[in-house]
């Protein structure tokens, strides 16, 4: 049985923890709104880009000299997994769920006898993957200095990945991130970056366009941009998801702290009452004994 003083200290400590988690929750809520806004405003570009690329790709896919970014290298021996996680923890299962998805994929690919390389974005994923897959890590992108994620950041990452692709370091690239569904639900998602895949669209409208320069030159110019855009979208989704996950994790923590305080207060009051009662009994029995 802890003494009254211990209980008091304990209650005070849980109270200050609750203050911190509450503050973190509010910060996350504010950041979430901003993250959602930037994800929202990035959507028109990404959608248009996707539509145009899809159109172009449908027209060029059959031709023999389709760009390698679209057609691939013709094999799928080496896979590059781009694992995008957060720079900070305390956001529930956010980082672990991405890492778990990536890890399953690694296990599956290795079982098939493929070579796997991993590029991490964000410190947390790197820390988790380093434990057992450190041999596969080929690079890391540190975004901890980036206050507000901009397109140039994504373009830099894309540039790095494309350089590796052109150097023949891998055949297939896939990015892992959390898709933002709502504050309480973020879906770990994988999306293939290279070779580029597009959802099939009905009625290929590609023939009705005039192109300048020709179709293939445009495609060659746009595909790298498409990769950058996809990375940008993924990172924005990830950013919103991170804040959402943190918000609900901190909400839980705040609630738990509240419950803990209630419980401790009851214990505290009971032991205080007990101390008083036993003191009274002592006095009374002392008086009776006289």
């Amino acid at each position: 049985m802890p003494s009254l003083k211990d209980l008091k200290i304990r209650i005070a400590s849980v109270k200050s923890t609750r203050k911190i988690t509450k503050a973190m929750q509010m910060v996350a809520a504010a950041k979430l709104r901003r993250a959602q806004e930037s994800a929202e405003s990035a959507r028109p570009y990404a959608e248009r880009m996707d539509a145009v690329l899809g159109n172009l790709a449908a027209g060029v896919a059959e031709s023999a000299n389709a760009p390698r970014l679209l057609a691939g290298t013709g094999k799928s021996e080496t896979h590059l997994l781009v694992v995008a996680t957060a720079e900070r923890g305390l956001c529930g299962g956010f980082n672990s769920s991405i890492v778990r998805l990536a890890r399953n994929r690694v296990a599956r690919l290795q079982a098939e006898g493929k070579t796997v390389k991993i590029l991490t974005i964000g410190k947390k994923g790197r820390e988790q993957l380093r434990r057992d897959l450190s041999a596969l890590l080929v690079g890391h992108v540190d975004l901890s200095d980036v206050k507000k994620l901009g397109y140039p950041d994504a373009a830099r990452i894309a540039h790095d990945i494309l350089n590796r692709f052109n150097a023949g370091e891998f055949d297939v690239a896939t990015i892992y991130f959390n898709r933002f569904q709502s504050v309480i639900s973020q879906v770990p998602t994988e999306r293939q970056l290279i070779p580029a895949v597009f959802e099939a669209r009905e009625g290929g409208a590609s023939s009705q366009y005039e192109y300048e320069p020709d179709e293939e030159a445009i495609l060659a110019d746009l595909l790298p941009r498409g990769v950058a855009t996809q990375i940008f979208t993924a990172l924005l989704e990830n950013g919103a998801s991170e804040q959402g996950a943190r918000m609900s994790a901190m909400d839980n923590a705040t609630r738990n702290a509240g419950e803990m305080i209630d419980k401790l207060t009851i214990v505290y009051n009971r032991s205080r009452q007990q101390a008083i009662t036993s003191e009274l009994i002592e006095i009374i029995s002392g008086a009776e004994a006289l």
């Binding site: 930037s38 990035a42 570009y45 248009r48 880009m49 366009y209 192109y211 300048e212 445009i218 941009r225």
Partner: protein, 132 residues
């Protein structure tokens, strides 16, 4: 017959403009072109330059650094990698752009040298056009 076309200027980060325009001048890779209502469907990549939007008597100008434009009979969309209103495009941004183009040219492998050199020339042309 419609006498305006829907003009959209989007960058990866946000939508910069969306309005009904009477004509849009676009710095295409192979030269400037002006899109007016009922233009044939057209897709071009952009060189660094100025997009000029005319809506009635008003004109707005934006500096774009690359990307592509999609023109249809009823709409013109410019998807620019970076775009700023002309008034906000300052000398240091131009200097950054120039430095980047020079670096690209220096790093470019043989088969990319042509396009990297072209880009550098485009940036220089843009700079002198804006007299920065």
């Amino acid at each position: 017959m419609a006498d305006t076309l829907q003009f959209d200027l989007v960058s990866p980060e946000r939508k910069l403009a969306s309005l009904a325009a009477t004509q849009v001048q676009i710095p295409g890779m192979g030269g400037d072109l002006t899109a007016m209502p009922n233009h044939a469907p057209f897709l071009t990549t952009l060189r660094p330059g100025v997009v000029k939007v005319t809506a009635g008597s008003e004109t707005a100008e934006y500096v774009v650094t690359g990307g592509f434009a999609e023109v249809s009979p009823t709409a013109a969309s410019v998807l620019a990698e970076r775009a700023v209103p002309r008034g906000e495009f300052a000398a240091d941004m131009a200097a950054d752009l120039l430095a980047e183009a020079e670096r690209n040219l220096a790093e470019a492998p043989e088969e990319m040298r042509m396009s990297a050199g072209q880009r550098l020339r485009d940036v220089l042309a843009l700079k002198s056009q804006l007299s920065l």
